[in-house]
Amino acid sequence: MWSRRQSHLRRVACGVEELRCRRREQEAALRKARREQQLVSKRLLRESPEEAAGEGAAAVLGEAEIQQFLRLAQRGTDEKEREKALVSLRRGLQHLETQQTFIWMEGSMRILVGLLTCNRALLQLEAARCLHELSHSEQSAVAEACLPATSYLLIYLSGHSSDFIELCLYTLGNLIVESEAVRRHLLPQGIVPALASCIQSPHVAVLEAVGYTLSQLLQAKEAPEKIIPHILDSTLLQHMLQLMQPGPKLNPGVAVEFAWSLHYIICSQVNNALLITHGALSTLVLLLLDLAEVVQRTEDVGLELLACPVIRCLSNLLAEVATEDVGGQMELRDERIVAALFILLEFFLQKQPSLLPEGLWLLNNLTANSPTLCTSLLSLDLIEPLLQLLSLSNVVTVLDCIYVSLQVLTVLCNVAEKGPAYCQQLWPGPLLPCLLNTVALSDTDVVGQSLELLQLLFLYQPEAAQAFLQLSGLQALERHQEEVQLQDRVHAVQQTALHC
């Protein structure tokens, strides 16, 4: 599955610099779309038609030609000719103009649906490919015109031809993204039971397609009210979790799709307690551990695509678990989680530094209310690696750097606030010099969090205050004495240091 990304890049015949430039443009477009909350738009999922046109690209078809191909496909006598007609139609449908002409012609969709449901298997397949082409259109009107076909696509999901099922799934996935009208039809038409049946397929490609379609369905803006409750009512959840179980049968491409699907379910906060009862926490923890092991073993590109949603799911689910329950969740008293997370943090640092904040968010949620895991941080010697994340300016953007520092300090506060036994392990050590560096920064939040940590440290480990004074800590604090948001705390820390 990972080879897909490589082969896509291979298709494009241009230099490395041009590729990078295109990638940057793509990213910029996606970021803009996300800020406008338009990220689910299919326009962004398809590369531009000029790039898509390679060998075998056909010209735009006019009405007369479309009619001719349809007639031949529907009424031709030679089966091969009929198939070829549909192939020609499909090629023409790669162009927006042909798509538009097609959907505005009277009876064209009816004929295509007729071919989709006829008794010649290969004509069905070619008709489905034409529909797939239409579903991929940049224009929603074209996708919406495919509505008459959806009930049939759903029925075909319960068939046996895995290629065909896969095609139908991707077609449905595309239609789902583009049109709320389609989604409004798909639910009563039975998409949830159809997916629940498909998810039991032994074919990896089908499973990946199910995951894709499901993830698109779950991204719909009406998903929390209208879609997720149905999903949670079905057997889909159990199957999803099963497909995310680590082990020899775990397929990363499949797991990625279901991990993202699970993320959309969890962050919609519809019924996360149900997920916990179904063992989601346990599955996610095991998967995290597995990822940490795999990451060390292989040079596989793309594991961050799976690590990201797993971390998000775990972190958001942890926020659901009440303080008293934490002790009851055995998985959360396993120090391997913390070990695995740090291995992943290092992996992110190498491959995708922009994911560091997400990893640290999980670390916060793991340590906030857990004496066990705070102790693990100490006993596994992870404080020093954590402190290394405070000086990342050459790897991440300035904003990320500040945010990461803030998160690191918060985690350290989680540890320190648990009392003297914890602070005694935090210092002596490299913590104080690091804190002096952060206090010297100009970002108010970072300095504020440093002050909180200093105060906890001095309260529970008074000797640290002495060392602080010797390191010229007071002078380092002076520059913030006038800062409104920091004044009180600066003063308090200064006083504490002097009187310890």
Partner: protein, 255 residues
């Protein structure tokens, strides 16, 4: 980031943790002006915190969908004929035959040779067409079950069922898998071949599902399919069970 060397081994080791250090809080810790309290943080769907990861996810999807949209290369073989009795279709590519077999013979009724798009519809057909007990019961109670999987509703007639599917399940009014039966005689094995030579009329010949038989065929009581036309879904005609339709591109890659 320099991680302790023992860390990697720890992940692979047994579950467990060191005994937690005793927690002992001093109320002064949370006294003003200090305000730190450990907090669980959750982020909702659209939060900007998720921006980077979401963008990466979509970049990945762009790659995948571009590949999905490409038609697969077919593996050409010398021409051969479908071996199922009565079917004389000829093929020159394994993928074509695979699809044909699954669609046309995968869910076929052994009693009348009609092909169905799914097991569910085949089972429904057998029940409604070939089970005389069903016919008897249908005279007295609502027996025609809604075709949408998971819907428990049953109806007196197929028309009622169809109305329900159109109204409630938003099925198209000209739904093609539930058309009234045209009067064909009892099907012979040659029927399949006959269909293949008939040209498509206005709507074409749909794969049939089920409907009220207009004439009661001399059905054998309680008989189900005499032999199983169903292929185990893992059979893949010699190309490995894990093939997807685009995996022909993967053939030269090592995994």
């Amino acid at each position: 980031m320099l991680l302790p060397t023992a860390l990697r081994a720890r992940v692979a080791g047994a579950p467990g943790a060191a005994e937690p250090l005793p927690v002992e809080r001093n109320p002064e810790a949370r006294a003003a002006p200090f305000r730190f309290v450990p907090r669980l943080v959750r982020f909702p769907r659209e939060h900007e915190f998720f921006e980077d990861g979401d963008v990466q996810r979509h970049l990945y999807l762009q790659d995948v969908l571009t590949q999905v949209a490409e038609a697969p290369e077919k593996s050409r073989v010398p021409e051969f004929t479908c071996q199922v009795a009565g079917c004389c279709q000829v093929f020159a590519a394994l993928e074509d035959y695979q699809h044909h077999y699954h669609m046309m013979h995968g869910n076929a009724c052994s009693l009348c040779s009609r092909a169905f798009p799914s097991e569910h519809l085949l089972d429904t057909h057998i029940l409604e067409w070939h089970d005389s007990l069903f016919q008897i019961l249908a005279e007295r109670q609502d027996m025609y079950q809604c075709l949408v999987e998971g819907c428990p509703e049953k109806f007196k007639t197929t028309q009622d069922r169809k109305d329900h599917m159109v109204r409630l399940h938003l099925y198209p009014a000209d739904f093609r898998f539930d058309k009234p039966k045209t009067n064909r005689g009892p099907a012979t094995p040659e029927t399949v071949a006959d269909l293949s030579t008939r040209t498509l009329a206005d709507d074409g010949d749909a794969m049939e599902v089920c409907c009220e038989p207009t004439s009661l065929t001399p059905a054998r009581v309680g008989e189900r399919r005499t032999y199983n036309h169903r292929i185990p879904s893992t059979i893949c005609f010699g190309q490995g069970a894990l093939r997807g339709f685009k995996s022909t591109k993967k053939r030269n890659k090592h995994h």
